[in-house]
């Protein structure tokens, strides 16, 4: 009986390179299976964050349950677990995949196989998933399905001859995909009678219900009133509600082996609802937890500080809430001489950092500024002590340092062969060492590089995209730490060192970078009533300088017809403009200046 029930369940993910149409396909599947009315069906239902819709990428994963009556006459429950598509979010992809038995691999019929396609297939293989391909955007004039099929078979060793050829956008051949899911994705085979074993693959915080755990039940069952235990720390809760997403939250009597759904249990402490944890029944616990997820370690750090009148507590609250469903984000309090109280935050990569920044600004309506991003450096002191530095301004005096080590990543970059020269030039400029290069087919080349991470975090990805006309794709992982000739670059504004701008970088690029930063600051800091010298210095040695010339004239010479109100409004606007700036001594620096410094270059 229970085997029979599970035989009608399919748990699957959709994996794809960014922009290949994963979210559009997900929307179509929901629409086809009639879960939402036309009115409720907004574009890309699963991307719930504004930011996601705007950027066209999925950051947070979402799940939804579909009911599908297949051609064999049986009705199946298809649980779709959406996955993010960007290089920074590999960790989140692995979380969702662990909850599935199969994955639909979406490949753009024009773009073909890309770096993230390969990386995701690799992840799915690691989880032992059944992967089958789908060719999307088949209606594009530039579609080349036959070649792309060959790419999939050659590069990924996945049979693709009979892959459904679809257009998710226009709803062409979507039913083939649903049929394929039923046929190809294995049904779950858990033991309903065994002790509860549920994997938390995501969590969310709700101010009414507490943390909501998104779970895949592997064995056993769970219902309202059950006493559950979080196996990582032993904390116990009573289940308040279980249910599924359709994609709206829908209450159920129980979740059983094979099901995907949610559990609420008045979990007020978010740390008790960690992604990767196993939930079991407290009265009848399972012996061994499910294998945990890959532990994430942030690779990029930066300081986030309240700006102007913004309170530091508001920033803390917002970070805490974001952390609930973003296990990869970490933060701790720190102080800056220039910026006061704030937080040092750790991220998976620069995109992750940008997204957190934007979410803080948009969703929480905060005025913040971020300091220059940094990686973690190993510092070997002359005293023999070894320390790790993630905040450049905490770097000890150079005379006390024996040497420093920086993290090196192994980067896999896939490009069309026409752009190989550009990519190599970029990687050389960023101190890369080429390992090898392989032709995947006549057009595509995979280049393997070793790159210092601190070179990758300064808009390497954006630059890669622009020098390859958007075709270049990147995947990277940490390799090791290596000694490097690093220096600390300080920025002085009006002769005061602004610690928020301090960065650690390789000596070879320090003069150039210092000069560029000074130029950029000169362009973004508005003229004020006095001259503002801007200097870049290594130790006491000034390597670059610029000057923001004093404003000479800002006067309303005429008040037309006694229009006092207009003049008043102008002044009030001027006053307001100052609020969006951070004051250092007498110098006002706009938020934008802090963002500009992060950018590597724009020439």
């Amino acid at each position: 009986m229970q085997k029979d029930r599970q035989s009608k369940i399919r748990n699957f993910s959709i994996i794809a390179h960014i922009d290949h149409g994963k979210s559009t396909l997900a929307d179509r599947l929901i629409q086809m299976t009639g879960q939402l009315t036309e009115r409720e069906m907004q574009e890309q239902v699963l991307d719930t964050m504004d930011l996601e819709k705007e950027r066209g990428i999925t950051i947070k994963l979402q799940t939804t349950r579909l009911e599908y009556t297949a051609k064999d006459g049986e009705t199946y429950t298809l649980n779709l677990i959406d996955t993010p598509g960007h290089v920074d979010f590999t960790y989140e992809v692995s979380r969702s995949l662990a909850a599935c038995e199969g994955a639909v691999l979406v490949v753009d019929a024009a773009q073909g196989v890309e770096a993230q396609t390969m990386a995701n297939v690799h992840l799915a293989d690691e989880q032992g998933l059944e992967v089958f391909p789908v060719l999307n955007k088949i209606d594009l004039p530039s579609a080349r399905p036959d070649e792309v099929i060959k790419e999939i078979e050659d590069d990924l060793a996945i049979l693709a001859q009979d892959a459904p050829r679809i257009s998710a956008k226009d709803g062409i051949n979507i039913e083939d995909v649903l049929e394929r899911i039923v046929q190809r994705v294995p049904a779950p085979t858990g033991d309903e009678k065994a002790p509860l074993k549920a994997l938390v693959f995501d969590s969310m915080y709700d101010s009414y219900t507490g943390a909501i755990a998104y779970v895949r039940i592997f064995d056993g069952q769970v219902k309202k009133g059950d006493k559950i235990r979080m196996m990582s720390n032993g904390s116990e809760y009573e289940v308040a509600e279980v249910g599924v997403h359709t994609p709206k939250q829908h209450k159920m009597d129980a979740l059983r082996a094979g099901d995907v759904g949610y559990i609420t249990a008045s979990i007020k402490n978010v740390r008790d609802c960690r992604v990767g944890d196993t939930i079991t029944n407290a009265n009848r616990p399972t012996e061994k937890p499910l294998p945990g997820y890959k532990k994430v370690t942030p690779m990029v750090y930066c300081g986030i500080y309240p700006l102007g009148d913004q309170k530091v507590d508001d920033v803390r609250d917002a970070l805490e809430k974001l952390q609930l469903n973003d296990g990869a984000l970490i933060y701790e309090a720190e102080t800056s001489a220039a910026l006061g109280y704030g937080f040092r935050c750790g991220f998976l990569g620069l995109l992750h950092l940008e997204i957190i920044q934007e979410r803080l600004i948009r969703e929480f309506d905060l005025d913040i500024i971020s300091t220059s991003p940094s990686v973690i450096y190993n510092v070997n002191m002359k005293s023999g002590e070894k320390i790790k530095v993630q905040n450049p301004s905490n770097l000890p005096d150079l005379t006390l340092i024996e040497n420093m080590e920086e993290p090196i990543v192994k980067a896999d970059i896939m490009v069309l062969k026409d752009y190989v020269g550009n990519v190599m030039a970029l990687c050389e400029e960023r101190r890369g060492t080429m390992l090898h290069m392989e032709y995947l087919d006549e057009m595509k080349v995979m280049i393997h590089y070793e790159l210092p991470l601190n070179e990758v975090i300064y808009d390497f990805f954006d630059t890669l995209k622009s020098i390859t006309k958007g075709y270049g794709s990147l995947d990277y992982e940490l390799l090791e730490y290596r000694p490097a000739d690093l220096v600390k670059l300080d920025i002085l504004i009006n002769k005061e060192r602004i610690d928020a701008f301090t960065m650690i970088l390789h000596k070879s690029s320090s003069v150039y970078r210092g000069r560029r930063i000074c130029e950029k600051l000169k362009d973004t800091i508005p003229r004020q009533m006095f001259n503002i010298p801007i200097q870049a210095a290594i130790g006491s040695n000034v390597i670059a300088r610029e000057n923001v010339k004093a404003m000479r004239k800002d006067v309303t010479s005429k008040c037309y017809g006694g229009d006092i109100t207009r003049k008043k409004k102008l002044l009030e606007k001027q006053k307001k403009g100052k609020k969006r700036m951070q004051k250092f001594g007498n110098v006002e620096i706009p938020q934008k200046a802090f963002l500009e410094v992060l950018k590597y270059d724009d020439e």
Binding site: P306, G308, D309, Q310, K311, V312, D313, R316, G340, Y341, Q528, M529, F530, M551, R552, K553, D554, V555, T556, S557, K558, C559, Y560, G561, G562, D563, I564, T565, K567, K568, L570, L571, Q574, K575, K578, K583, N586
Partner: protein
């Protein structure tokens, strides 16, 4: 019955011009078919204020534009007669009309004189004919001089001439020529404005497409300093950022603005300040007529001033004057200790030589005048305690 009468001024706006100057973004039209209806409207508007007019002591009237001298002098007479119905104007000390030298004639001037207009404000702008053409003026310098002398002959003893500097392609010596020509004419009052290029003016586009090039800021400021030097040498005293006069000829009407006295504002886009309320009239002709046809005042914006607003204005307006703000009065009227409450800002402004303080007055230096918007923005900001509220 004795009534408590208050001193008030009157501003009347005439939004018509023969031709729009290239730098002007002010409300005016060249469509003279509207003039008659407009004057009817204006008269109706004045009538709507009759009670308040009756209880006011009118010391100054200013007819501005646009170009008030563009329309027939009989219209001006009608307006004055209307006001006269409700106020005998017996206390009138200064009555100014703005005139464009290209629109003046003897008949107009004689009528003005009869109407008790005792001050002319003439837009001369420059003594360089090429420059006048570049900025779209309708007259030459020679015509302006002729109009000026004519006014003198007819007996106008208080004339103000307007100059604009920082004009496209203008050099410092070009401007000196204009200043010296004006000094030769010996008017009682001189207003000199630094050109401000407003969006949506022909000049804005010409500069954007680089057909015309403006002098650099530094040069503009040198012109201003040269202006002050030359005029002071010839006994014209800078009494407000843009205004100079011979002793005793400061514009009473403008002074009333700076001193926050009340005034009626009549006409399209006019602004007024009555019963502690600042108000602005509609800038749209149709709306103006429409509102008046329903016997409503054509006001579209209104703001009552609280103590904080008043203080804001006091600082903003007071600092425009050469003599600055009277600190003793300010502290007393607003129950504050101005210098102490803004200690750090004041120190900074003193260090940068933007203001000076002696005994009772705080005033802008010349450099402070150049940057007056910046300085004022700092001094009126009462809520910028950044350091203290950032700690957790």
């Amino acid at each position: 019955m004795m009534m408590n009468k208050e001193k008030r001024s009157i501003y009347i706006h005439i939004p018509f011009c023969q031709k729009k100057c290239f730098y002007c973004n002010f409300r005016s039209t060249t469509d003279d078919t509207l003039v008659e209806d407009y004057i009817k409207g204006l008269i109706k508007e004045i009538v709507l204020y009759k009670d308040l007019l009756k209880t006011s002591i009118i010391e100054t009237i200013y007819i501005g534009g646009g170009t008030p001298s563009f329309i027939s002098e009989t219209y001006i007479a009608e307006i004055i007669e209307t006001i006269n119905k409700y106020n005998d104007l017996s206390q009138l000390k200064e009555f100014t009309i703005e005139v464009n030298p290209g629109t003046l004639n003897e008949k107009k001037l004689r009528t003005y004189k009869k109407l008790r207009i005792n001050r002319l404000s003439m837009g001369l702008q420059s003594s360089d004919n090429k420059m006048l053409k570049t900025i779209g003026r309708i007259h030459t310098f020679e015509e302006a001089k002729a109009a000026y002398h004519l006014a003198r002959e007819i007996g106008f003893e208080n004339i103000s001439l307007d100059l604009i500097f920082g004009l496209p392609g203008q050099s410092i010596s070009d401007f000196e020529v204009s200043i010296n020509e004006v000094i030769k004419l010996a008017p009682e009052h001189i207003s000199a404005y630094s050109l401000k290029v407003e969006e949506e003016t022909p000049l804005f586009n010409l500069i954007k497409e680089k057909t015309l090039v403006l002098p650099k800021e530094e040069m503009d400021r040198e012109m201003y300093q040269q202006l002050i030097r030359l005029l002071e040498k010839n006994n014209y005293h800078l009494y407000e950022i843009s205004n100079f006069s011979k002793k005793g000829y400061e514009s009473k009407h403008n002074m009333a603005y700076w001193k926050r006295q009340e005034y009626f504002g009549f006409g399209l886009a006019a602004h007024g300040y009555l019963k502690n309320k600042r108000y602005g009239n509609t800038e749209n002709f149709d709306d103006y007529f429409q509102m008046l046809s329903k016997n409503n005042r054509p006001i579209i914006s209104e703001e009552s001033l609280n103590k904080e607003d008043a203080l804001f204005e006091e600082i903003m307006l007071g600092l425009r004057l050469k003599k600055g703000i009277n600190l003793k009065k300010l502290n007393k009227n607003y129950a504050i200790d101005f210098l102490n409450s803004k200690r750090e800002t004041i120190q900074f402004l003193l260090d940068e030589e933007l203001i000076t303080i002696n005994k009772e007055s705080l005033k802008l230096t010349i450099k402070g005048m150049d940057l007056s918007n910046q300085v004022i923005a700092q001094l009126v900001d009462y809520h910028s305690n950044i350091e203290s509220d950032k700690n957790p």
